[in-house]
Amino acid sequence: MMDKELHLLLSIVDKNAGVEVLIDQGLNYGNIAILIETAIKSGYIVSEESDIKLSGSGKEKLAELRGQLKKLDKDTWIERKKDAIITKLDPDFIYLPNQKELYF
């Protein structure tokens, strides 16, 4: 069980949300079912007739994983806007309003 996936699953259960975020991570529903089953067997999730919730150890594990996986470096959670980056100009470059027109 990957820590990142377990962290997401425990967050989902904690917030009573859907599993879409795990699908976005490339998991299929079969993988998610196995992940849930493993988390239940490990005692992190309690599945009762009408309720699914985190156990005490599940809450502790979630807090632990949050600490471990917290992204402090902003470059890892803010993606660079690559299309806005301008290529560096050569010092000898002369700017012409129209690069294809050679006469003024």
Partner: protein
């Protein structure tokens, strides 16, 4: 597609585990497609689909032998033990004589199971296969007093095709009605009611009711019917198959899923812009 909740995934996983479906060939596609379908539905609709899934019969090719054995045990316990010859006829009408039907598969498989059956059905010498009604009419075919005419199919739904074939057999004038015994792995109660009315003997391994109408008491029934109507409006495009062929409300997949089964289980559907596969797709390979 909408988001699927953890509770539904756990419930579906429990159903698959309890029914041993994770041991079936193709279980991962069925499970995946079932989850995708559930993700399109609201809480009430999901609840209904999970209840139907819990009562669903997924009978794979591997388990046919077990059901064939059950059919013949049923014959012995009902006292239907012919002492003469047994003619095996796959249920198919004259117009289907060149098409391979599920009854043909059953007759073919039976040849491999004969030695596992209870006496006297374990004697290969007592059987003769009749491949089609046209051919029957050309055969010098006379039934003796102790002979029986077994009509075989894997599934009986509305009983429409059964009635058609029984009429064709009657027209041949060679098989007295009391000699006919219908054998089916799965049958809906209305097909059996037709046989009872006609006084035809039968043996069936699994008898099934209508999936919603015959299962829930009022007022639950009305709510469940309304939930299925909403599901079908959402994901089913063909009105012809609403609630299954002629409203059969079937919950079964055999080698092929009969069109009597609720179409949400077998008809490909669109949700938003996504084209999605149902849990038990019903394929038909075209002939050249």
């Amino acid at each position: 597609m909408n988001d699927l909740d953890v509770k539904s995934i756990i419930k579906l996983h429990d159903i698959f585990s309890r029914k041993d479906w994770f041991q079936q060939l193709g279980h991962s596609q069925v499970h995946e497609n079932f989850c995708k379908l559930l993700a399109c539905l609201n809480t009430e609709e999901k609840e209904l689909m999970l209840e139907l899934c819990d009562r669903y019969d997924w009978i794979t090719f591997n388990s046919y032998g077990k059901y064939v054995q059950k059919l013949f045990e049923g014959l012995v316990s009902s006292g239907i033990v012919p002492s003469g010859k047994i003619y095996l006829f796959p249920l198919k009408s004259k117009e289907d004589r060149t098409t391979s039907k599920s009854g043909d598969t059953l007759v073919y498989m039976l040849q491999g199971f004969i030695h596992f059956l209870q006496p006297p059905f374990n004697q290969a010498g007592i059987y003769s296969i009749i491949e089609g009604l046209d051919r029957t009419s050309n055969l010098t075919f006379t039934m003796n007093k102790d002979d029986a005419f077994f009509v075989l199919d894997d599934f009986l739904g509305t009983g429409d095709s059964l009635l058609k074939v029984l009429e064709e057999i009657k027209q041949l004038g060679k098989v007295p009605i009391e000699k006919i015994v219908v054998l089916a792995l799965v049958a809906h109660k209305n097909a059996l009611a037709i046989l009872d009315k006609l006084g035809i003997k039968y043996s069936v391994a699994l008898v099934r009711d209508k999936g919603i109408s015959d299962h829930y008491p009022e007022p639950q029934k009305t709510d469940k019917i309304s939930a299925m109507q909403k599901i079908e409006l959402k994901v089913t495009t063909k009105k012809k198959f609403q609630f299954g062929y002629k409203g059969s409300e079937g919950l079964v997949t055999m080698i092929k899923t009969p069109n009597n089964t609720f179409p949400v289980f077998w008809l490909p559907y669109k949700f938003g812009n996504a084209k999605l596969e149902p849990p038990f797709p019903r394929f038909q390979i075209n002939k050249l």
